[in-house]
């Protein structure tokens, strides 16, 4: 795959071009928050951000999405589901952890039942990655087969080499296409610089996640009661997690709506009879941990966490899933 060096000016030009030909989404500041939004001005694209508050999953699995409409006219019922806009979509500045999370979403939304809403958005999107040179204290992607410069799931990866020059590594054809005809060959020096940056970034990641190989025997442990005590059962960790995909469906007027839901909420599993298999907080928190570190692994062969650290950073009471998972492997090696 090709590698080239582009300047900041080149990038701006590319962004300008993409704004015209495609739907372009990139991180920008909104007050104190960093969120992905449609680009109106390339100047506003934010390059030096650690990660966005909301992961890019929102563009494939929106917080609220209209699935179809129904219409009752003179005793006739009609259903219609509008085709999505098929214009190419470029998501610019995706962090490697978030790109990896989409591969997990693929496993969920593809398969026996194919979710056309998700798959169509995937098909029309190009992911332009931005390598992390400054990971946060709460990042731990290295423990989860990812890394600050990982390419998995991306179409192209940009690394900021400093001095207004960027190394662009093409990963897929549709990624390379975006950078056609610009920049220059990369040299030995630039490749070394990139290596150094990658190594330096890796060194900055000190948080490690070491889940026990099998959590199953730990299921009934009183540990879960203890560690979930301070959890307030909100939706923050699940909604902001790039690998959480739970949803609910409902009708709002003529629209059938799909929207995010969370295993932290008690009504999530509460049946009309009043019975609820996860009435207690500890069972809900345990579900989150087990889904990520045990069930998903069992069903799809890998852990459903990419180490983005959002749930640690944003939890209103600082519940730390890494500490919790690590601790239970420590406890286990003890006996």
């Amino acid at each position: 795959m090709t590698e080239k060096i582009v300047s900041k000016e080149d990038l701006k030009k590319i962004l300008e071009g993409l704004m015209k030909t495609s739907e372009l989404l990139a991180p920008g500041k909104e007050g104190d928050l960093v969120l992905f939004k449609p680009v109106k001005n390339p100047e506003e694209v934010f390059f030096a951000y650690p990660n966005s508050l909301k992961p890019v999953k929102e563009f494939f699995f929106p917080p609220r999405e209209e699935l179809f409409k129904h219409e009752i006219r003179e005793g006739k019922v009609g259903l219609s589901s509008e085709h999505q806009e098929n214009r190419k979509r470029v998501i610019w500045g995706v962090r490697p952890c978030d790109a990896k999370s989409l591969l997990m979403f693929d496993k969920m939304f593809d398969g026996e039942y194919k979710d056309s809403y998700y798959l169509e958005k995937r098909a029309k999107s190009v992911l332009v990655g931005l390598a992390c040179n400054e990971p946060l204290d709460s990042c731990f992607c290295l423990s989860l087969n990812a890394g600050p410069h990982a390419k998995e799931g991306l179409d192209v990866l940009i690394t900021d080499l400093g001095d207004d020059s960027y190394l662009v590594e093409g990963i897929t054809a549709k990624g390379e296409e975006l950078f056609q005809g610009c920049g220059k060959e990369s040299g030995e020096g630039e490749r070394t610089r990139k290596k150094e940056l990658e190594e330096a970034a890796k060194k900055k990641i000190r948080k490690t996640c070491q889940p026990p190989p099998d959590l199953e025997s730990f299921f009934e442990d009183p540990y879960w009661e203890k560690v979930s005590r301070k959890c307030i059962s909100c939706g923050v960790c699940t909604y902001l997690c790039p690998t959480c995909f739970c949803f609910d469906l409902s009708y709002e007027g003529r629209d059938c709506i799909r929207f995010w839901d969370s295993c932290s909420f008690s009504p999530f599993t509460k049946m009309t009879s009043g019975e609820n298999p996860r009435r207690e907080k500890k069972t809900r928190y345990r579900q989150r941990v087990y889904h990520k570190f045990s069930y998903f692994k069992k069903n799809f062969g890998e852990i459903a966490c990419v180490g983005c650290g959002r749930c640690l950073r944003e939890c209103p009471v600082k519940v730390d899933i890494v500490e919790i998972v690590n601790q239970c492997s420590k406890d286990k090696t003890k006996d």
């Binding site: 179809f68 006739k76 056309s116 949803f247 003529r254 999530f268 599993t269 298999p277 889904h291 069992k298």
Partner: protein, 289 residues
């Protein structure tokens, strides 16, 4: 009478959330709060091609109100229509009870694994049902009766709180009169009337009295959790192994497709991998059922 408007021309090739339209052909009142709905798909092709197994379920949509899962209570051996027996509980079920014949609803499915009908061939079948739990059993019972030669003896133990709460009253009589089928009805103490000829007592107790033999048999049980719990105790006493006991599990469900994430018990999604499980499988679950 009701005609389908053309769906949007740009509809994606296949949409797993889009229901098929079906008309209500008949509504039968089973009890005070349970009605059976006979549904016929609007699309004639689909009427023929819609196949399912007893024990599978559908997602039933009332447009503008909501969607709920119900098991198919009809037998796949009776083609051209499907039936669901629905108990009035909350938002959607209340709206379903307000429907009239001719109304159009949405149906997605069939979903779930269904009963292992093939494995049941050549075996004695013991059905143990409580309340609305007879609905999925009914699908299988008619299937068995319609293919009578494929199966051995059939024992049915069915109970409800009171006589008024027994569902499919006419069909119970038909089953009783089918050769090789032994039906025992019971009502909870206090639910009987003077002319009641059936048993009085809870289902597990009556099952013990009926005392079916475990040899070459399978038990299929469905009903309220508390009933299932004691039925299991009874079966255990009668030396049924956990592989011989088949039941359906209930969870709150939304998608029916193994995607929305709420119906799991451990790594198993009840909507997709179930709702039918052997008790041997259930014993492996760590999470409470």
């Amino acid at each position: 009478m009701t005609e389908v408007l053309k769906p949007g021309s740009s509809e994606p090739p296949e949409n797993i959330y889009l229901p098929h339209l079906a008309a209500i052909k008949e509504i039968r009142e089973e009890t005070q709060d349970i009605k059976t709905f006979k549904l016929v798909f609007q699309d004639e092709e689909l009427r023929k091609s819609f196949t399912y197994k007893p024990g599978q379920f559908i997602e039933f949509s009332i447009f503008g109100v909501g969607e709920s899962p119900f098991c198919l209570a009809s037998s796949p051996t009776r083609e051209g229509y499907i039936e669901c027996s629905i108990k009035k509980m909350g938002k959607v079920t209340q709206a379903i009870h307000d429907l009239e014949e001719g109304d159009i609803v949405g149906i997605r499915g069939p979903y779930g694994n269904g009963f292992p009908v093939e494995e049941m061939k050549g075996k004695n079948l013991i059905f143990v049902g409580g309340g609305i739990g007879l609905a999925p059993l009914r699908s299988l019972i008619w299937n068995v009766i319609d293919r009578r030669d494929d199966f051995k003896d059939v024992i049915i133990v069915y109970g409800s709180r009171s006589i008024a709460d027994l569902v499919y009253k006419d069909e119970l009589k038909q089953w009783q009169n089918t050769p090789g089928v032994k039906l025992t009805l019971t009502v909870d103490p206090g639910g009987e009337a003077e002319d009641w000829k059936g048993e009085i007592g809870f289902v597990p107790t009556i099952l013990e009295k009926v005392n079916p033999s475990p040899g070459n048999s399978l038990v299929i049980t469905c009903g309220p959790p508390i009933m299932i719990k004691f039925v299991l105790v009874t079966l255990n006493k009668m030396n049924f192994s956990s592989q011989q006991i088949i039941t359906t599990l209930e969870r709150k469900m939304t998608c029916g497709l193994g995607k929305c994430g709420r119906c799991n018990i451990g790594s198993v999604y009840v909507c997709k991998d179930g709702p039918v499980f052997t008790y041997a499988q259930i014993e492996q679950f760590q999470e409470e059922i």
